[in-house]
Symmetry: C2
Subunit: 332 residues, 2 copies
Amino acid sequence: MGDTRYDVVGIGNAIVDIIGRCDDAFLSKHDLAKGFMRLIDARQADSLYGIMGPAIERSGGSAANTIAGVSSFGGNGGFIGRVADDQFGKVFAHDIRAIGVSYDTAPARNGAPTALCLIFVTPDGERTMNTFLGASTELGTGEVDAKMIEAASVLYLEGYLFDKPEAKQAFHTATAIAARAGRKTALTLSDAFCVDRHRDDFRKLVRDGVDVLFANETEITALYEVNTFEKAAAAVRGECEIAVLTRSEEGSVIVTANETITVKAEPVDQVVDVTGAGDLYAAGFLFGLTRSLDLAACGRLGSLAAAEAISHIGARPEKPLDQLARDAGLIT
Amino acid sequence: MGDTRYDVVGIGNAIVDIIGRCDDAFLSKHDLAKGFMRLIDARQADSLYGIMGPAIERSGGSAANTIAGVSSFGGNGGFIGRVADDQFGKVFAHDIRAIGVSYDTAPARNGAPTALCLIFVTPDGERTMNTFLGASTELGTGEVDAKMIEAASVLYLEGYLFDKPEAKQAFHTATAIAARAGRKTALTLSDAFCVDRHRDDFRKLVRDGVDVLFANETEITALYEVNTFEKAAAAVRGECEIAVLTRSEEGSVIVTANETITVKAEPVDQVVDVTGAGDLYAAGFLFGLTRSLDLAACGRLGSLAAAEAISHIGARPEKPLDQLARDAGLIT
């Protein structure tokens, strides 16, 4: 095992979020499945943006949010993901570098514009996402920076990458590099519909190539096609070293071959926007792992970061997470 | 006087704000004059963005914020201002239309990108602005929509337009159209440095072509080169029909030929970001005028809208202003 310059290196879709508010009737009227992510093409993106209310723009992307969170905790993060050479591309690159993450993927000079996600936030704080993948799908094996991955304690991948063949190939290339270098690989299942689209691939990957799996309740039950959380937790046990199952306000459950650890959710005054809750939970958990904290403490760091994320609009941390963790006595 | 389809039509720079946080030491280190606006070129914008922390993007522009506010109160608003045919241009056009404003200025297909303003917000909520005018300066007489202006009760102009010769010419063309149609013209002085750059022009304009003038304390003292608010208020009396002088937490003073009306500021729990306070005050005041409310009630609507603007990041209203005005008993 060589030098680990990075705590966590993530590979994912490089996305700028466009966040607006709507009510539940709007979601029904436009056939948007509340709380889920769907892929849209450029034409659908234009049409959906046309009916959206006034919005704000903020950098996003699932794995990118996680790596931003790791950096905010004081960890060394790296990110691999493709933007175009346009205004949203500059925004994405700026924000991830400004929080301290190493990011060197060259912007695509031709082809589709930078990816965007139209996010509709309902009054209950739930988010419904519509993603135009644009330039992010031009991520290919050529962009997989082997030196960066070899130098990271943990490689972190988002399941959303499986939605495009080139990105899926980049994903497999990256996991092979990490395995050869003796590093850990972590995966988030991303979305229940995404799991439905790629169930067999995900099951195989969890068994053969993943050390740490993140999934929420709907994702893990979709993966094992069971109807209760308990059955899903039983099904995943032993499939990978650590399965981290998040349950929104009910907290999270960490499952290993011979342990089951329950972690409470961190209370929040008001849930403003749940976008990024899972991403930031993963940030806290992985940061704790790289600091060799016990699994319960890793889970508490995850809960802390998720609580910060849901207390404001947007998926990136607004308060320095290292300070919150120190105030909570979880790190020194 | 023909039909007035619009309550207020604004002409201004069409800008997307990039908003980040910093401390006072950062402003000092980079020679940024706290609370003011400065113009920067493309190279300076790149360089300043490079040292900015993680940010969010949100539609802005002084007159555009005001017209968005008028629309949020339930008024009919129109806006004239130039963007480029790029991602920020689409964001600007989307947001102003989504709040109900008529906006038909064709995007510039060549030349500079859409204008942006790098806004640094300090912990006290004060904002320091750095504007790259980009495509907004390509606004010329050709874009001045005479039919729209003739159909508006009030033409509203931002002083910032004076910073570029073409936009200044468009400004004069617009005021001539409004005068011929028997409409009122309102002007905001925008910024004390802007006043310094164009003092003689502004004084002449206030006397000859402006019915309603908006200025804050530093702007009105800069205009008349006096050292107290009282002297400035005395100097402006009778120069135009109504001078509306805003004083942050001390409220506002409305000066006419034979009246001086003092209006309290609306209390807020926490000043998060003062960006847009003056713009939204003008929105409330002008909306009240078009509904023939008395001047004190116009001022209270202004205070209400300003208070909403400073209680969150960004200059556009987040809560429907008509609802706030009804709750406050100012409109029915």
